[in-house]
Symmetry: C2
Subunit: 152 residues, 2 copies
DNA sequence: GTTCGTGCAAATACTTTGCAAGTCG
DNA sequence: CGACTTGCAAAGTATTTGCACGAAC
């Protein structure tokens, strides 16, 4: 059993909530995905492995699991709202401001960021996610070419 | 003239686009706000200083300015999509997973994070935003109390 | 004058909600 | 059993689009 599944079992009774197939499927799909999924992708994958789960149930449960701290939601331009496991790793999203593609990355070290943060922020930290905006290598090339033509 | 306004003037002709009152108002409102604003808040503030700007224009322009790298969009749970200036500072959002309140924070140093990132990511970095999920101090207190009662 | 931008209204897409029936503990 | 969940359909929000008119260069 994975770390997140264990937390799920442990936390549910504490808030007076129940273990259901639908919730387990959500977690399972996100574990297998190893990254962020939109509501649409989640729904597709859940439908493909088992009895249908209604959209509203998915919406209700991603919210519940997010509030329990098991998932994290990210709205990424061009992709809509997405969800991913809120595990111990540090999640980074690279968003290209030209083609809107998104790359997911997990880092294992954060340098001194965390300790700096704890000092200045009055907050009980659960998990962290970094969004980097800029240009993917491919768009950056196109852009550079355009610029040099313009100057010529 | 602010840094962002200067970039705005410089960049526009490069992409064959024009300077309009509506776009200037958007930037101005966001500069004065010193933080993130929802589309709704943006609209309110723009209406209050000048001739009405239509919603669709606002949507079109936040997208344009985001793609130009002048703004950054953040979807924050409970607040919907928000926009803020993508300036040289490092933006941090603290999101409480219980009450969904969001606190905005600007940091001046990132420790070694940036250099680590440059090493591993094939990407031309524009700006960075960190989202911290956890509990605000007030919700954390309530939660702790609940937990200790349960154990008693 | 030509190209780009805006406003309006309509079309889409996305998300939430009420309620009866089904499940979990 | 009683409390919590689900599915469905309907309501509510949020966002995008087409097109005629107006503005910038």
């Amino acid at each position: 059993m994975t770390e997140q599944a264990k937390k799920y079992e442990t936390l549910l009774p504490h808030v007076g909530q129940r273990k259901t197939v639908q919730r387990q499927m959500l977690l399972q799909v996100l574990e297998e995905a190893e990254g962020h999924l939109t509501i649409e992708q989640l729904t597709e994958r859940i439908q493909s492995i088992s009895p249908p789960v209604s959209l509203s149930t998915i919406y209700r449960n991603v919210e519940l699991l997010t509030d329990m701290g098991l998932l994290r939601s990210n709205h990424l331009p061009g992709e809509g709202n997405t969800y991913e496991l809120a595990d111990e790793k540090f999640h980074v999203h690279l968003v290209c401001q030209s083609c809107h593609s998104v790359t997911h990355l997990k880092m294992h070290q954060l340098g001194t960021l965390l300790t700096d943060l704890v000092e200045i922020a009055p907050f009980h930290i659960g998990s962290l996610a970094l969004t980097v905006t800029g240009y993917c290598t491919s768009c950056w090339h196109h852009l550079s070419e355009k610029m040099s033509k313009r100057e010529a």
